[in-house]
Structure formats: structure tokens, C-alpha cells
């Protein structure tokens, strides 16, 4: 998959409140973060992309071809979505079976599915827990299992909904590594985030949504330098950017390492 496009998309849950009205957006090989306050329409957007919701107007295209006729289950071969709450999907009594559920659904044989599942669990560092009951693990580990269960399906596009919530530093680093790896494999990566620092650190492109509209879209560095527009969407700049600003530097920093290097040079 090279591109995922939304053209003139309109959607609403109830007739009097329009969520999207003529939304145009496209995703390409750049890793993309979507940020915005609660209720901005981020989750609705990815549900539309996943075929879980159908737009009332407009088209969604993968590599220029409309996906209007595909069901969510059919789309799941191509687009993977990692849900926020792992408890909404876990039902097997051991980790390996849980991760194999998706691959088996999209037609892999048992041995292929098991291989894919073990590889995915290795990526999230949970290969030692294959025989455990998922409900004996912690919430952050269950989140990683949910993530692995999508990775195992080997989809061309992976969408994450709030992957960093409830993860400690090590967990976040793991997720960051996975995102980079998916990107080098040539997959499209899209991520809904509330964590500006993580967005700044791990994504090439950032899209800011506010009340169903895109108010900023571009290179992560450029997006996070626009303090006024971010504030309008009730968002903060990443801490590094704020610190640099407080120190009186005009350059925009989005990585800690950049600022440290800059300070060392100028000290």
C-alpha cells in the first residue's frame, strides 16, 4: 500500500451533530501522528478508515481504489487497528491463541499463524509469556498483546489508538521501535496520540484535529512550532519545545537530544 486517501468525507452519528463535513486527508509512507483534544473526531476517523463506520458522503481510497464495498472483516487483511482498551478483544485463555486469532481469521494456516504470532510476540518482548493466561498479565502487558495480535496479521497499514497510555518509559521505547520497524518494512503507520512528547519524538508528520477539521498538517517540527494554533485546539507544545522557549532560544526543538547537543555546543 502506498497511499490511503479520504476525499470529501462526511459523517455524523446523529443528524443534528455533524462530525465531519467534507474532510480531505491522505496518508503516505511517512509515519503520522494525529493529535487533538477529546471529541475532536480522531477515533471516528480511524473507524471510518477501518470500515467499522460508513461515511454518509465521500470516498475512501487505498492506492486510488475505493474501499466502499469491503466489510471491516475483509479490510482487516490490509488495515490493522490496535484498540485503546485490550480488554475489549481478549477472550482466549492463553496468549499465543489470542494472538493467533486474527491471522487465522484472515486465512493463514495454523502453522503460518503460529509463526506469525510468535514473531509478533517477540517484537513486543512477551515471547516468554506465550502460555500464560492474558488476564493474569498487567494492563500494559495486555496492551502489548493486543498490539501483537494486530502485528501478527501482517497488514499493509497499522493504526494505533493511544498506544502509549498506561505504558512506562520502557513500554514507550518498545512501541517506538515497533513503529520504526513497521515504517522500514514499507508499511503505513498512523497513530492517535494525546502524548505530545511521544508524537514529537517518533513521528515524521503530525496532523492536528479540532472539531472534525484539520487545523494543522505537516512536518512534526513545523506543526509543533505553531504555538498559537495548537493552543486554539487546547494542545500544548512538547516539553522540550517549551523548555527551549523558556530558556530564550528561538530555534524549535522537538527532540531532547537536539536540545542537549545545542546546549553543550553553546555552553
Amino acid at each position: 500500500m502506498n497511499t490511503f486517501e479520504l476525499k470529501d468525507v462526511a459523517f455524523s452519528y446523529s443528524p443534528d451533530i455533524q462530525i465531519f463535513d467534507g474532510l480531505d486527508l491522505s496518508f503516505d509512507s511517512r509515519t503520522t501522528a494525529i493529535v487533538g483534544q477529546n471529541g475532536a473526531g480522531k477515533t471516528t476517523l480511524v473507524k471510518l478508515m477501518k470500515g467499522l463506520l460508513k461515511p454518509s458522503k465521500g470516498t475512501l481510497l487505498i492506492d486510488g481504489e475505493s474501499i466502499a464495498k469491503e466489510t471491516a472483516a475483509q479490510l482487516s487483511r490490509r488495515v490493522g487497528l490496535v484498540f485503546q482498551n485490550p480488554n475489549d478483544q481478549i477472550f482466549k485463555t492463553n496468549v499465543l491463541e489470542e494472538v493467533m486469532f486474527g491471522p487465522l481469521n484472515i486465512g493463514m494456516s495454523r502453522s503460518e499463524a503460529e509463526k506469525a504470532a510468535r514473531e509478533a510476540l517477540q517484537k513486543v518482548d512477551l515471547e516468554s509469556k506465550v502460555d500464560d493466561n492474558p488476564y493474569d498479565l498487567s494492563l500494559s502487558e495486555r496492551k502489548l498483546i493486543a498490539l501483537a495480535s494486530i502485528l501478527a496479521m501482517d497488514t499493509e497499514m497499522v493504526i494505533f489508538d493511544e498506544p502509549t497510555m498506561g505504558q512506562d518509559f520502557a513500554g514507550k521505547e518498545k512501541i517506538k521501535a515497533i513503529i520504526e520497524e513497521l515504517n522500514t518494512e514499507g508499511k503505513l503507520v498512523l497513530c492517535i496520540l494525546h502524548d505530545m512528547d511521544f508524537a514529537a519524538e517518533a513521528f515524521e508528520r503530525t496532523v492536528v484535529m479540532n472539531q472534525g477539521e484539520i487545523i494543522l498538517d505537516g512536518q512534526t517540527r513545523d506543526v509543533f512550532s505553531k504555538k498559537e494554533v495548537l493552543e486554539k485546539a487546547y494542545l500544548e507544545q512538547p516539553y522540550v519545545t517549551q523548555i527551549a522557549h523558556a530558556l530564550g532560544y528561538n530555534e524549535s526543538f522537538i527532540h531532547e537530544s537536539e536540545l542537549i547537543a545545542f546546549l553543550n555546543k553553546n555552553a
Binding site: K50, L52, A73, S76, F83, D88, Q89, I90, F101, N105
Partner: protein, 255 residues
Amino acid sequence: MNTMTLYVEKDSPVHRLDPLVKLLYVFASIALTYILPEPLFIAGVLFVTLLLLVIGKVFRNSLPILTLSMFLIFSLVIVQGFFHPDNVTELFSIGPLVFYEEGLYVALVLVLRVLVMIGSFSVLILTTSPDEMVERLIKKGMSPRIGHVILSVLQLIPQMRATTSKITDAQRSRGMETEGSMLTRIKAFFPLMGPVVLNSLNETKERSIALEMRGFGSSTKKTFLNEEKQYPYNKLLAGIIIAIVILGIVWRVMV
């Protein structure tokens, strides 16, 4: 969040009545249909009940409930009309089956009684918010635990519906078909029900902890958030209802 309730929010004299008076009316009207099982008399009670529905501006809302009960009413008439043991006087016949007058009479009493039951329960349910009713009952000495059970059951079903749709989304994202043939639906059952049940159990546990954290189990006397509503004609109305029931009993014994 919408709860499982038939309550229709409107402003009417019936809405303003004390829930307990309405509850009393439910019991009294049903009791009366047993105390005086005369069609004409029960029809009178039914008339008053329907009048209350009209005054409460909920007559239209009670129609679906009455329609649902038509099945029961219809079968009552058929069974009693054809098969009541006292049947003697023939009304008409379909082939070998004979429909009798006595059975029709018995059926009439039963049908009217059913209508009174449905009608008076509708008065109570359609015009009383569950919150108001439970709070009133707790003030009268019902255990707050029972009150909580009643109210949480009303919330549980819509909540489970919401969880189920979230879980369906999550499993469909993993390539599970939920629509189609019977077999596909059966196969989809466990992946959907597993998380629903586990989530409900978890939620229940967390809810009970949260309630304890806020002192729900404490044995001190509880105060109420809402100011007590004033129900002006409370005692008078309750008195009238009780008087009518007593009059009915006296009438039955004397005549």
C-alpha cells in the same frame, strides 16, 4: 447515558403525584378487580385508570404495551370461550368447536383485569422516574442496597449493549465476520461473549470498590442529595384510595 426505562418526562398532575401514592393505586386497583369481579365494576376501574393515563399525557405511550398484551387477551378469550367447564349456552360454532356464553363472560372479567393491571402499572412506570421512586422508597425505610440494585439493573443493559458494540468492532478489526450465515454467527459467539462477561465481572468488582470508597456500606443514617419534594394532596389521595378498597370489601361481604 440512556437507561432502560419507559419513563416519559412531562409535566402533569399525575407526574407530580407521590410515587408511593401511585404504587398504592397499582395495588388497590388490582385488588379491587378481585374483590368485586363484576365486568361493569372492573370496567369502571379501567376507565379511571385510562383517565389517569390521559391526564398524565402518556396514553399514547401506553398503547404499545397494551398492544403487546393483545396476544394474551386473545388467547384468554379463545380458551375460556371454547373450554370453560361451566359452558352451557351456545353462542356460535366453528365446525365441531362450540363457543359458549359463560366462557365469554369469564374471559371478559379476565381480560378487563389484565387491562387494569397493565394500565395501572403503566400509570406508575410511565409517569414516575425510577430515581424518584427509589429515593422515595429508601426514605420510607427500604434498604439503600436494594435501591442500588434496582437502579443499576436499569443501567446495566444499555451499558452492556455499549460494551458489546465496542467488542464487536475490536473483533471485526481482527478479521472476524459477524454477519452472514447462522454458522458464522455461532462462531462469532465466543469471541464476543468472552470479553463481555469478563468486562462485566471486572466492572462490577470495581463499582463495588468505588461504592465502598464512598462509604456506601457505612451504617450511619444517610442524608439525601435532593430536597424532599412536596406532595400536597398525598394523605388525602392515599386516604381516598384506601377508603374505596375498604368500601369494596364491605360491599362484597354485605351483598
